[in-house]
């Protein structure tokens, strides 16, 4: 019997019948986005159809633990074949020590579909080498409950003065104007980055990155100070309102505006499909200035260098860099892919993509989240104190500048 089986196996191998089985590869993909499982499963099935024999196993981890799990796995010589990575400093932490495979036009021709700014976000700064293909861009703006605005008889505010007037009218109508509280640190950075972007203008960001100015600059501290004008229009006890509560206030129609990012659009639509949501750019300082949104790349897809299925993993990352994949990200998940030529059927997403043409960088993530203490860490805690009244905008600017100056030479001595 054994001889018969061995003979059959040899025969199958010789005739190539078993070739499909021999080539079958299971590759794993790790992500922090559990909520996207259905969409990725569908996309991976498409990938398998185009690449017979390569099966992708989707595995998601809680966002709060994701980086920890990835780091410990990679340090222990384990980990997936393809990794959903963060961009900027989060990527550099894994790429610099050599855990990720460098992507080149030779091993990933789809890189050609990415704009130059995406390549910068997904590369190690010192070498310019790219380690990840792009996932999506995120845009900071204001989500608006159009019904509340209509009831309060106010239009979407285009300038800061209009925002204050709109909030006054909304408050008089018995609603909360701005849903955001300040109890969640990272949302405070989003709040400040979002609303100060147009007040600061593009030149300020260029000057900061060039080291010509710092966050002590009066322009920056004045912009931070203007945020305090919104305190009367935030929820009662806003210093104790965290991110989920802010979301609930907006989703239940108790608040008119939510200062946040484009990642909320699909989520909010899903949670309350009846809510009339619009996305608007943050208000400009005056009618003659542009309404600049803040923009950043939210991560990408990388091949783990120690993967035993590197070729298959590269095939998958290549697939994730195609225009088709980008289209599907928009259609199925509401994410805006930076891949050139991607079509966005959703009118709100298309509107956001149009806003991106006039943008400023989400500065702490894009430029100051590469070394410790990061600009984000410094800013988030200081903003909470500023909103609580125990720190002035000038002290916030000084805290951030002096913290970053530990490793950023242009800020030293300033």
């Amino acid at each position: 019997m054994r001889k018969l089986l061995a003979g059959l196996t040899a025969l199958l191998a010789m005739t190539g019948v078993g070739a499909g089985v021999a080539r079958a590869e299971n590759i794993t993909f790790w992500t922090w986005r559990q909520e996207d499982k259905a969409a990725y499963t569908k996309l991976f099935a498409e990938f398998t159809k185009a690449h017979p024999g390569i099966h992708v196993l989707f595995r998601a981890f809680p966002p709060a633990d994701y980086q920890t799990i990835v780091s410990t796995a990679l340090a222990g010589g384990k980990g997936p074949d393809v990794l959903h990575t963060r961009a900027y400093g989060g990527l550099e932490q894994l790429a610099k020590p050599g855990y990720l495979l460098q992507l080149t036009p030779q091993n990933d021709p789809e890189l050609a579909n990415l704009p130059a700014s995406a390549k910068t976000a997904l590369a190690v700064r010192s070498t310019g080498k790219i380690y990840s293909s792009a996932f999506s861009t995120q845009t900071l703006g204001i989500l608006v409950n159009s019904k509340i605005l209509a009831e309060a008889k106010v239009a979407e505010p285009k300038t800061w003065a209009e925002l204050l007037a709109a909030c006054k009218a909304i408050k008089a109508a018995g609603k909360i104007c701005i849903a955001n509280g300040t109890a969640t640190g990272w949302m405070d950075e989003v709040f400040a980055g979002d609303l100060t972007g147009p007040l600061l203008g593009q030149q300020f960001f260029k000057d900061v990155v060039a080291g010509k100015t710092t966050f002590k600059d009066q322009k920056y501290t004045t912009a931070l100070g203007r945020l305090l004008e919104l305190k009367p229009y935030m929820p009662p006890g806003f210093t104790g309102i965290d991110y989920p509560t802010s979301q609930q206030l907006f989703l239940t129609g108790r608040a008119a505006m939510f200062v946040g990012g484009s990642w909320e659009i699909a989520n909010f639509h899903k949670q309350n499909p009846k809510l009339a949501i619009d996305f608007m750019a943050p208000p400009a300082p005056d009618a003659n200035s542009p309404q600049l949104v803040s923009k950043f790349y939210d991560g990408g897809y990388a091949v783990v260098k120690s993967s035993k299925h590197q070729k298959a993993a590269l095939e998958l990352v290549g697939f994730m860099g195609t225009k088709h994949f980008g289209d599907q990200l928009g259609a199925m998940l509401g994410d805006i892919s930076p891949i050139e030529g991607v079509k966005l059927a959703d009118p709100t997403l298309a509107k956001v993509a149009a806003m991106d043409k006039q943008s400023v960088p989400y500065i702490m993530l894009v430029s100051f989240r590469y070394e410790n203490p990061t600009g984000s860490e410094l800013l988030q805690g200081a903003l909470q104190k500023m909103f609580a009244g125990s720190m002035t905008p000038q002290q916030v600017g000084a805290t951030v500048t002096e913290g970053i100056a530990k490793y950023y030479k242009p800020f030293q001595g300033k």
């Binding site: 966002p63 709060a64 994701y66 980086q67 920890t68 780091s71 410990t72 990679l74 340090a75 400093g89 989060g90 550099e92 932490q93 894994l94 610099k96 020590p97 050599g98 855990y99 509280g181 300040t182 109890a183 969640t184 640190g185 990272w186 950075e189 929820p235 009662p236 006890g237 806003f238 210093t239 104790g240 309102i241 965290d242 509560t245 609930q248 206030l249 989240r369 590469y370 070394e371 410790n372 203490p373 990061t374 984000s376 860490e377 410094l378 988030q380 805690g381 200081a382 909470q384 104190k385 609580a388 125990s390 720190m391 913290g403 530990k406």
Partner: protein
């Protein structure tokens, strides 16, 4: 029994002991000793992401103790741990002592009360944290709604630097009070009835009984409660993590060494980067503080037991 037989018997007994200890020792070595030694080693290394890049001597320890901005965060967190310990000693253990005394009196319904007092202890810290976070919510929370009924506008308990840490301490006391209460009660029940009755006959009031008679006699229980509270206070993590987040919100008002260690080593989700070197230095510091103070406190408290 000859000397040789006794020796053989002794060797066999020793082998048995070794055999029975081996599984436990192996588990302890693998999951406690090796990680602790690993953390010690990492405290003296620099890292690039998760990969060690070289030895830096005492630089990481020096940074977290003396160099800005690390040092400010370390001392602030340490001070908060001290506050937590002191507050829990007074609020949690003080009330536990009073409750234990009340239960000792075996008043009608004392068994039900005993269960009620101990019930929160069996809940997970995560559940308790989420529950109290919701109760303390400034808009939807029951605490402020109740206060509003009496015309008082409650503060944003977890969002105000002056009330945030206190709110978490109160939550911890609610959660854990049953545990020291049971320890004290067990110790009180071991006191001979004659002693307490004699004191009563001599005219001792409840206050005198608690302070002069029972307190010295439950000294061993106090030692256990103090040491466990100290260790718990300096390893505080779950409750502040759930209730105010990894950053020790607002503005670091609830930051403690446990949060600071985790945040430094593994990085905040949308704020920091991993820094295993400084994180391990903080872990070593915590280990030294807890081990040294526990050892000294144990010595003092044991001496007190003998003295009393």
């Amino acid at each position: 029994m000859t000397a040789a037989t006794a020796r053989r018997h002794g060797v066999r007994r020793g082998l048995w002991i070794l055999l029975l200890l081996a599984p436990g020792a192996a588990v302890m070595t693998l999951f406690v000793v090796v990680p602790v030694l690993g953390a010690f080693a990492d405290a003296f290394r620099s890292f690039q992401g998760p990969r060690p890049t070289g030895w830096v001597g005492f630089a990481n320890l020096r940074d977290v103790i003396f160099v800005a901005p690390y040092a400010a965060a370390t001392w602030r967190a340490l001070w908060h741990n001290v506050l937590v310990f002191a507050s829990l000693m007074v609020v949690q253990n003080g009330l536990a002592y009073l409750i234990a005394f009340a239960l000792l009196k075996a008043l009608p319904g004392h068994r039900v009360h005993q269960v009620i007092v101990f019930l929160p202890v069996v809940l997970s810290a995560i559940v308790v944290g989420i529950l109290w976070k919701e109760l303390l919510n400034p808009i939807f929370g029951a605490v402020n709604e109740l206060l509003a009924l009496t015309g008082i506008q409650g503060p944003p308990w977890l969002g105000d630097a002056s009330t945030a840490l206190g709110s978490i301490i109160a939550t911890n006391a609610w959660h854990w009070m049953g545990f020291p209460a049971l320890i004290f009660l067990a110790a009180m029940q071991r006191i001979p009835k004659e002693t307490l009755e004699a004191a009563r006959i001599d005219g001792a009031t409840d206050r005198v009984l608690m302070a002069r008679i029972i307190w010295p006699l439950v000294a061993p229980a106090t030692t256990i409660v103090v040491i466990l509270t100290f260790i718990g206070s300096f390893n505080w993590f779950e409750l502040p993590y759930v209730m105010t987040g990894l950053d020790g919100s607002p503005g670091g008002a609830t930051d403690v060494l446990g949060l600071l260690f985790y945040r430094t080593a593994f990085g905040g989700v949308s704020s920091g980067l991993e820094d295993f070197g400084h994180g391990s230095a903080l872990a070593v510091l915590m280990f030294i503080v807890v081990a040294a103070v526990s050892a000294v406190a144990l010595r003092i408290l044991r001496a007190r037991e003998i003295e009393l």
